[in-house]
């Protein structure tokens, strides 16, 4: 049995949280991720599978539901509790029946949640996404600090940034710097 010490994307033992100007920047490490990409000709089956897993219709283009978001045409990311569903990709792969390709994504990404008012003021310094028009349920992929990141708007005062794990430090620095600059 291996005895390995789990580290967060920022390299610490505990998730980091920062607060500035009424906005919290919180590292999220308790979510398992897996992508579901439809096979050619099985697009409807793949969407039905996402609906079955999440209990709600598969998100439309650039939209997110409570536990899934749209990544690209006929492709979705599923979110689940790491505590109870660490083997999310295996669970999904057992159900796809050839309709989709499932890929384990948990350790490919880092996630930072921003909570507070005036998030649009922060993100207008960081990316092209027009947060002022977001009302909740949007899922946009855009570049932040030259990194391809997903922006998931849970509600106008709560946005998740999901970016490449290997650049977690740079992404965190960019987010915190923008918060200090804008707020």
């Amino acid at each position: 049995m291996h005895d390995l010490i789990a580290l967060t994307p920022l390299g610490a033992h505990k998730p980091r949280s920062d607060h500035h100007g009424g906005v919290s920047l919180i590292e999220i490490t308790d979510v398992a991720l897996a992508s579901v990409a439809a096979r050619l000709g099985r697009e409807a089956d793949a969407a039905a599978l996402v609906a079955k897993i999440t209990g709600i219709e598969a998100p439309a283009a650039a939209r997110a539901s409570d536990c899934a978001f749209w990544m690209g045409p006929d492709q979705w990311m599923i979110e689940a509790s790491f505590e109870t569903q660490e083997d999310l990709a295996q669970q999904l792969a057992a159900q796809v029946n050839g309709a989709a390709s499932v890929t384990e994504q948990t350790d490919a990404w880092c996630r930072f949640d921003l909570k507070g008012d005036r998030l649009a003021d922060v993100f207008e310094r960081l990316c092209n996404a027009d947060l002022k028009r977001f009302t909740g349920g949007e899922a946009v992929r855009t570049a932040i600090e030259h990194l391809g990141c997903f922006l998931i708007c849970r509600s106008p005062g709560h946005v998740s940034v999901i970016g490449p794990r290997s650049s977690a430090g740079s992404l965190h620095h960019a987010l915190l710097t923008a918060m200090k600059s804008a707020l």
Binding site: P73, R141, T142
Partner: protein, 95 residues
């Protein structure tokens, strides 16, 4: 320049990468007797029109879809944007 993505709406051209003439969708048959000539043409020879041009763009910093964009190379006016997979299927390239 703004590209009006068919699924996502207007997006800044900086999010995209130019991938060449849309004729690249029509990759020649590598097993045909004239494969060498057709691949030299496919790989190296391009029209360079001053005016309407159909081209491939990749939404790299976005949803990573490939688009066929009709653009005027003199004015940068974009007249149509479609998902490349829809174009390819319509032209019989992808089953």
């Amino acid at each position: 320049m703004i590209i009006n993505h068919p699924l996502l709406g207007p997006r800044d051209a900086a999010e995209f990468v130019y991938k060449g003439d849309a004729a690249l969708i029509h990759r020649p048959d590598g097993m045909a007797p004239d494969a060498l000539e057709s691949f030299i043409e496919y790989g190296y020879l391009r029209d360079n029109p001053a005016g309407e041009h159909r081209e491939l763009w990749f939404h790299e910093q976005g949803d990573r879809s490939w688009l066929v964009v009709s653009r005027n190379t003199l004015t940068h006016e974009i007249t149509s944007v479609e998902l490349a997979r829809d174009v390819a299927r319509r032209e019989g390239r992808s089953k």
